[in-house]
Amino acid sequence: MKKKWALLSIIFLIATFLTGCEPLTVLDPKGPQAETTRDVIMISIWTMLFIVVVVFALLIYVLIKYRASNQSEDYEPPHIHGSKLIEGICVGVPIIIVIFLSVITVKSTYEVESTPKGFEDEEPLIIYVSSSEWKWHFSYPEENIETVNYLYIPTNRPIEFKLFSHGSIASFWVPQLAGQKYAMANMINTLHVAATVPGDYVGRNANFNGEGFAHQTFNVTAMEEDEFQEWVEEVHATADPITIDRFEELLEPGHLGQLTFTGTHLDFLPPPSTHHGASHGEDSEEHNEDHSSHDSHDDSGH
């Protein structure tokens, strides 16, 4: 029985840790999307903890009460077929729990797939994010600049990342801002994000894509809008323009530090033409285009 107690205490340890002082990255959100996922995670942890405690309690009870050494020599366990009532409870309670979690899931999934709450009316900043072996390219078409392996974003403004890849599948993940999404060749995925707190956040590729995978990380800096504009101007004043030749060099497999360019590689190497993953709901008008091209996705085999 020692083990059961060990298990229980470990679970409580984890639970206290999760709710405790030093929050884990995923549970320490800096924007509405990551806040939504944090809330969903916490609700599910408490619900699951309830189930685990019930099962553990029942198990410990029957093991102690009905162990052979606790019973007389001639005790003959009865033959029991089952009871409608007990089986009804065993099915009914899980059904209620699953319905409860389903409602939360559907609601929150639509939420993280659309423009962040509170920023619905604002014009989003669109950033094209593309991965290559083993780095990240960030293109800002509006600002007409491009960076490698780091990202500056303004706070309190919705951002739409348009994700794709120049090679194998990568997964764009900044846990403190939002859950991850795949960057794939031949299609564009959209990830909606907003940062409400200025600061530096770790981002990485979460999907294994070969030898250099472990080091395919990048840094995200969220800053006030005017600081962001200052940075853009500074880049225009100081950085070199990106050219086809330079970009093709960058695409060679390997690691690079942080780089900054004016112009974007989208001008000479357009992104894939099919879109995916814009929320399929009716929430965002500007996605209508995406949807129509998405329909053609199936026959074009993206």
Partner: protein, 649 residues
């Protein structure tokens, strides 16, 4: 020279050279040993050519234990590498090969083989049959599996192992990003072993549906047989998808087609879909028989009938149906949008309902019982809490929005190990301890067995609980290293300690086999556990014809009722028994399959053609062969039965 160069591994290191030497020495020792003891003839006539389901089961068991150690060493290497930040024990390429082969070996060559071992040995006995429906196909299945496994295992020292993950997603697994032959090995060896599994699926479905003893209606089948039936149905539906996917992948790699490429109209998403349409049901192929094993062991050692037999049947059938409609939860992040993700999230969580029913039924089976804590029972009880934790975290992963944060992280690794180890590995060990006396005629040592349980049960928790935390802290899976600043170090170190405990537990099991083989008493009854189902009604070890007289059954616990209520299981007189004859053809045919796979891995076309002809020659041979098996005369049955402790009637 050029000819040999292609077999060289792309990144030779000390470990690889050491393994080469170790493999060569082991092979040499085996060959010398067999020759010295003059066992070649015995090996050929009693094992390599056997079609007896019990011996095939035992060969699966031995292979599975070997593969457990191969996969286990991989696991230890991974945990050792990540135990401290910035470790340099393995470099990236080695780590990638190690986690890829770990996953493939554990799922396809260890867990599958272990399931096949118990299914082969137990199901025909539980339904009172003489053998499976197609004994020779059964031998073919085993040898296909075995050759597939061997082909996969030599990749480490000949040509280089697969390194694109056990999921082998394209375009990473395509020629451009994985130029060396590792992924060819992956495609071809899984293809060969998978064919064997598919054949088994058909074979056992027919066996269970057609060869049950008189009186055993479907609703009187023991629960393990039920799970075996459903599992084989899933195999028959799911494996063809894998076969097609692997064939297309092989063509992409060897013949330059573009099914999964990202240019010329290929679709990388197609691979992910195919892989998981097979892959998700695959985990139920593993776990349902495990549920069946627990449903045999828990009633036996609780001294009570299984609670809610009917709801158990309903729940396995509904789990098997649901397992085909959830595959998209493996790529919620691929951009299919909120609607599709919501649908698959709900179907995923729905599986928790029938699974929950099973957990409660086992708990209620213990209720009012008389619980004996034997080794198989300890594993079955230990399964419940650990699997519950693994299961509820699975529900958490099923919530699509939250999965965007868990996907591809250590949280996922923790979840699936906490379902698969108690759900599958515990069941297999429990089943092995439980049916061991039936297989070999002696019991495994209980003290060593219990010690192994505690090491393994505690080891699993210590090894995998920390991963929930490091996963939520942002540690992605499949990272060969990480920096000090991430703070993952402490969790990975704890996890390494747990892995070491697990290793001790597994070594104890093997030591137990050695120890008990030497010292255990052979003087045990045919029913040492006071069990309930039909396989315990014959002798231990089981004579080649299983039952001298076909039993007649009138409940799902036929043997228990025979013991307690005095039902007569065996009625009538001894009659001649018809048995299938042994054959070397399945073995030879699979040697050609091995050659075929090896030749294709290295694009050696002429050898491949010769091997193909060899395979067809074996098939042709079979179609012209006249073989009606043979009969065991009544005298001989009488003599055998008397020798085994008196005729049972």
């Amino acid at each position: 020279m050029e000819f040999f160069e292609r077999f060289a591994v792309p990144n030779p290191t000390f470990t690889i050279y050491a393994s080469m030497v170790a493999i060569a020495l082991t092979m040499l020792a085996v060959v010398i040993g067999i020759t010295y003891f003059r066992k070649w003839g015995y090996l050929w006539s009693e094992w390599l050519t056997t079609v007896d389901h019990k011996r095939i089961g035992i060969m699966y068991l031995i292979s599975a234990i070997l593969m457990l150690f191969r996969g286990g060493v991989d696991a230890l290497m991974m945990r050792a590498q990540t135990a401290v930040p910035e470790n340099t024990l393995l470099h990236a390429q080695e780590y990638n090969e190690v986690f890829t082969t770990h996953g493939v070996v554990m799922i396809l060559f260890m867990a599958m083989a272990f399931i096949m071992a118990l299914m082969n040995f137990v199901t025909p006995l539980q339904i009172g049959a003489r053998d499976v429906a197609f004994p020779r196909l059964n031998a073919l299945s085993f040898w296909l599996y075995f050759m597939g496994a061997m082909l996969f295992n030599i990749s480490f020292v000949v040509g280089g192992s697969a390194d694109a993950g056990w999921t082998s997603y394209f375009p990473l697994a395509g020629n451009e990003h994985s130029p060396h032959v590792g992924t060819n090995y992956y495609m071809l060896s899984i293809q060969i072993a998978g064919l064997g599994t598919l054949i088994t699926g058909i074979n056992f479905m027919v066996t269970i549906l057609r060869m049950r003893a008189p009186g055993m209606t479907l609703m009187k089948m023991p629960m393990f047989t039920w799970t075996a039936l459903i599992t084989n149905m899933i195999i028959v539906f799911a494996f063809p998808v894998l076969t097609v996917a692997l064939a297309m992948g092989t063509m992409d790699r060897l013949f330059g087609t573009h099914f999964f490429a990202i240019n010329n109209g290929g679709m990388d998403m197609l691979w992910a879909n195919f892989f998981w349409i097979w892959g998700h049901p695959e985990v139920y192929i593993l776990v349902l028989p495990a549920f069946g094993i627990y449903s045999e062991i828990i009633p036996t050692f609780a001294g009570r009938n299984l609670y809610g037999y009917k709801s158990m049947v309903v729940s396995i059938v509904s789990i098997s149906a649901l397992s085909f409609v959830v595959w998209v939860h493996h790529f919620f992040t691929m951009g299919q949008g909120a609607l599709v993700n919501s649908i698959f999230a709900i179907s995923t969580m729905a599986i928790a309902i029938p699974t929950g029913v099973k957990i409660f039924n086992w708990l209620l089976t213990l209720w009012k019982g008389k619980i004996r804590f034997t080794t198989p029972m300890l594993y079955s009880i230990g399964f419940i809490p650990i699997f519950t934790i693994g299961g509820v975290t699975g529900v958490m992963l099923g919530m699509a929005s939250a999965d965007y944060q868990y996907h591809n992280t250590m949280f996922l690794v923790a979840h699936f190990h906490l379902v698969i180890i108690p759900g599958v590995v515990f069941a297999l060990i429990a089943g092995m301890f439980y049916w061991w006396p039936k297989m070999f005629g002696f019991l495994l040592n209980e003290r060593l067995g219990k010690a192994s349980f505690w090491f393994i049960a505690i080891g699993v928790c210590v090894a995998f609980f920390p991963m929930f935390i490091s996963g939520l802290d942002g540690q992605a899976r499949r990272m060969y290293t990480y920096s000090e600043a991430t703070g993952f170090g402490i969790w990975n170190m704890i996890s390494f300690v747990g892995a070491l405990m697990l290793a001790v537990g597994f070594v104890l099991i093997v030591y137990n086999i050695y120890y008990s083989t030497r010292y255990a008493s052979r003087d045990i009854s045919a029913d040492p556990w006071d069990a309930r189902s039909l396989e315990w009604a014959t002798h231990s070890p089981v004579p080649e014809y299983n039952f001298a007289i076909t039993p007649e059954v009138n409940s799902s616990e036929a043997f228990w009722d025979a013991k307690k209520k005095g039902h007569k299981l065996f009625k009538g007189e001894y009659k001649e028994i018809h048995m299938p004859s042994s054959s070397g053809v399945p073995f030879i045919m699979c040697c050609f399959f091995f050659l075929w796979g090896f030749a294709l891995v290295f694009s050696m076309w002429i050898t491949a053609i010769i091997a193909t002809l060899g395979i067809f020659a074996c098939m042709a041979h079979r179609s012209f062969e006249v073989d009606h098996g043979y009969h065991i005369p009544v005298d001989e049955i009488k003599r055998t039965e008397e020798k085994l402790g008196g005729a049972k009637k």
